[in-house]
């Protein structure tokens, strides 16, 4: 058998990360948008729209981290050390975000504090993820099998920009999710926010697409050299088409399309990043084959992934199906 196990696993982990980004993306987006909704009932409805699913969504992040540890231990070891500060800040922020789902209902007197924790946690976690993404694209200094950069190697103008860009993107996912799941004034408000956020997201995609090839000639060559430019042209064309359709569906006050089109925008951006960085898992030095664990480990876990991932997707879809339809403030169990 000549399966390219590292390649298969790189694809699987990429899918896990993408699943995380789009699924926890709209959860975190709800937290980011909390300050725009002051009404107590609105906030409760917003939280109830994600309360049954947020935990499953966050599990994809554990799969991303755990999967990296399992099949690309070298990359896990280097990346976790390189992104030490933003990752720890992200984890702490996710703690505040996660406990708020319970705590805000348990303690009416301190509800505003836990709402603040929910919003602050969502914003900080998102910006930290965006910073990690930007620093990852820019490249990581490696010596032998260890990280060789400084404490603040992850902090650059570009990574700060990607941090803010992701903030805008997750807020867009959150807003379009609310368009899908809510009714009335809350729904109308979400639609107006989504229109502005969609424009922000499109601007951010264009900016990153122009900025990235400036500092990385390899990425520039990959996109713009002939004949690649012809093969890869569909990606930006699809982005443009999706962006147009998204704006149009929002102005037509559609319920479902804005969320789906925002997801497509994320998927396309992700595809673009993959094209830029492949085959590096620690750009610009360590490839997926360098970092891969032994075939014994990759094969063993792949069996599980092949059997279990479809089942997981099945009951995840079922959970979403159970909680389909519009939500309101009275859907909790507390």
């Amino acid at each position: 058998m000549t399966l390219d196990l590292p390649l298969i696993w790189a694809a699987l982990i990429a899918i896990a990360v993408l699943m995380y980004v789009v699924m926890d993306g709209f959860d975190l987006g709800i937290g980011i948008l909390f300050p725009f909704f002051k009404e107590h009932r609105d906030r409760t409805a917003m939280m109830n729209s994600i309360a049954p699913v947020w935990d499953g969504n966050e599990t994809w992040l554990i799969l991303g981290g755990g999967g990296l540890f399992a099949v690309f231990p070298l990359a896990y070891s280097i990346l976790m050390t390189a992104f030490y500060a933003p990752l720890i800040i992200m984890l702490l922020a996710l703690i505040f975000r996660g406990v708020a789902f319970e705590f805000r209902f348990r303690d009416p007197r301190h509800q505003s504090f836990w709402d603040l924790g929910f919003t602050g946690g969502s914003i900080v976690a998102t910006v930290a993820q965006g910073i990690v993404l930007g620093a990852f694209v820019q490249g990581i200094e490696v010596d032998g099998r260890s990280y060789a950069g400084g404490w603040f190697g992850w902090l650059t103008p570009f990574s700060l920009f990607t941090g803010l860009a992701l903030l805008c993107g997750y807020a867009l996912l959150g807003a379009t999710w609310l368009v899908l799941k809510t009714e009335g004034a809350l729904h109308a408000r979400a639609n107006r926010l989504a229109q502005r956020l969609a424009i922000g997201m499109i601007v951010a995609i264009v900016a990153v697409s122009i900025w990235t090839p400036q500092f990385n000639l390899v990425i520039a060559a990959r996109w713009f050299a002939w004949p690649n430019i012809a093969y890869l042209a569909p990606v930006p064309i699809l982005v443009a088409a999706t962006a147009w359709a998204l704006l149009r569906s929002l102005s037509l006050k559609r319920d479902v399309q804005p969320f789906l089109l925002s997801l497509v925008l994320f998927v396309l951006s992700f595809v673009g990043l993959t094209i830029s960085l492949f085959p590096y898992i620690v750009p610009p030095t360590v490839t997926i084959w360098d970092a891969a664990g032994p075939p014994e480990s990759l094969g063993f876990l792949l069996v599980g992934a092949v059997v279990l991932l479809p089942i997981i997707l099945g009951y995840t879809a079922y959970a979403y199906w159970v909680f389909r339809g519009k939500v309101n403030a009275d859907d909790g169990y507390h």
């Binding site: 992040l61 755990g66 540890f69 231990p73 050390t81 030490y84 159970v322 009275d330």
Partner: protein, 463 residues
């Protein structure tokens, strides 16, 4: 050198702190998930509203605890990399897939069905809802299976070869079912059940002390004490077998736990003493001659190795684990006594009405958590100075992160954990202070009206 030493200690402190906080939550949710499944089964089978009331009462507590377990567990999945990069790099091929299977088989299962369990009573039929509860309970047990397989492998590594410095799995069956795994898994799952039982028992006792006729509280205490009566003695046996397994594979840990310095036949059981790593003695010893050998080798004259037979840099820190071990065993014996007393009082139909017993049950409420932490400190500190026993030293396992960075993140974890989990514990106690009603219907005052909370039980009986 001094710097790297400090950073190493700080990194260990950080791991100890985050994992100690974390283990408290699963220790409770593993037991509580099974308890909820039993309660829902009883409700479906007997149709008595009091079981549904109990289910809802404990479901709220479960949701809160589970949420804290998730967020503190997420931290753990990144701790290996942030502070222990070289360990992750070298042991990743063996441990990573085990944790990967934990995510695939346990975390997704729990998270996927938790939503249905918490919010779905109105949306799915009774059978499906019960199925969701069972899946969450099974998920917690599967999670324990994989994480204890990984931990046990670090204690008693097996089924691997070393290639280019990395541990490479050669035989997965041997990796997973490594020598200490079956004992550790049994010991931990029983510990989780006992921990939960004593919390449930304490809550029942608390409300019985206030109102002796509270039916729901009586059921809590009764069910908890059945667990104590049968599982606590089983745990003593499981613990003894686990100890014998440790003696076979990690004799230095046993010597440090027992405070034995010299190898001797007919070794005493030291009940009290102050092991001293410098002078290589156990001071102020109070001991029973020969009993140490009897317990460890099941022979009065059996030979027991002392710590002096290992070089100084291979000895676990005896003063710590000598006492953490005794604390755990002491609590275990107290649990067995509670179980026996409960049988006696139950036979006389005085279980729910005996004031001193109720107060004792209340005091024993948090004992399981203390025992679990003491047990983990014993086994993990006893593994030192190795991270992979006998093969990789903890000192080699650390990331090249400077001491101030580790100290800073440790400080941040301490502040956030104390604030968040302090508040969480307070909310848990608040929920437990609320008396369980015979029919759990109304939400707490001050909360928005919530449909699931106000639906009367009969309305839920539709298909």
């Amino acid at each position: 050198m001094l710097d790297s030493l400090d950073a190493a200690i700080l990194a260990r402190l950080q791991f100890a702190f985050t994992v100690s906080f974390h283990i408290v939550f699963p220790a409770f949710t593993i037991g509580l998930a099974s308890y909820l499944a039993v309660l829902e089964a009883l409700w479906l089978w007997r149709g008595r509203d009091v079981y549904l009331a109990l289910y809802r009462y404990w479901l709220r507590i479960f949701a809160l605890t589970f949420g804290m377990g998730v967020v503190s567990g997420l931290v753990m999945s990144y701790q290996f990399g942030t502070n222990w990069g070289p360990f992750a790099d070298r042991a990743g091929p063996v441990l990573g897939p085990l944790l990967g299977y934990e995510v695939f088989t346990a975390f997704f299962l729990e998270a996927g069905f938790l939503g249905v369990m918490l919010f779905g009573q109105k949306r799915v039929g009774k059978g499906l809802h019960f199925f969701a509860t069972c899946m969450v309970a099974v998920g917690t047990l599967i999670s324990a299976f994989w994480i204890l397989a990984a931990n046990s492998w670090m204690q008693t590594p097996a089924g691997y070869v070393i290639r280019d410095g990395q541990f490479i799995p050669a035989d997965w069956w041997a990796v997973i079912f490594n020598p200490s795994f079956p004992y550790r898994l049994t010991h931990m799952v029983l510990a989780a059940y006992l921990t939960t039982a004593f919390v449930v028992g304490a809550v029942g006792a608390f409300h019985l002390l206030r109102e002796r006729s509270n039916e729901a509280a009586r059921i809590m205490l009764s069910m908890a004490m059945w667990m104590a009566a049968f599982v606590a003695p089983l745990q003593l046996v499981a613990g003894d077998l686990h100890g014998l397994n440790t003696l076979a594979h990690q004799p230095a840990k046993i010597a440090a736990m027992e405070g034995h310095w010299d190898t001797q036949q007919g070794a005493p059981l030291i009940l009290f003493g102050l092991p001293d790593m410098q002078t290589e003695t156990t001071r102020h010893e109070l001991s029973v001659p020969g009993l140490g050998s009897l317990i460890l080798t099941h022979d009065w004259q059996g030979e027991v190795r002392g710590l002096k037979s290992w070089p100084k840099d291979e000895r676990p820190h005896s003063p710590t684990i000598f006492w953490s071990f005794r604390l755990m065993v002491g609590i275990g014996i107290a649990m067995v006594l509670m179980g026996l007393l409960s049988l006696y009082l139950r036979a006389r139909r005085q279980l729910a009405t005996t004031g001193w017993f109720l107060r004792a049950a209340l005091v024993m409420g948090p004992s399981g958590f203390v025992a679990v932490l003491a047990g983990w400190i014993t086994t993990e500190m006893g593994r030192q100075p190795y991270v992979v026993y006998g093969l990789m030293r903890t000192a080699e396992a650390r990331s090249p992160v400077d001491a101030p960075a580790v100290a800073g993140s440790l400080l941040a974890f301490v502040i956030v954990y104390l604030l968040v989990f302090g508040a969480g514990t307070y909310y848990l106690l608040q929920l437990m202070r609320r008396a369980p009603a015979a029919v759990e219907r109304g939400p707490e005052p001050g909360l928005p009206q919530r449909a699931a909370g106000i639906t009367p039980a009969p309305a839920l009986q539709k298909p």
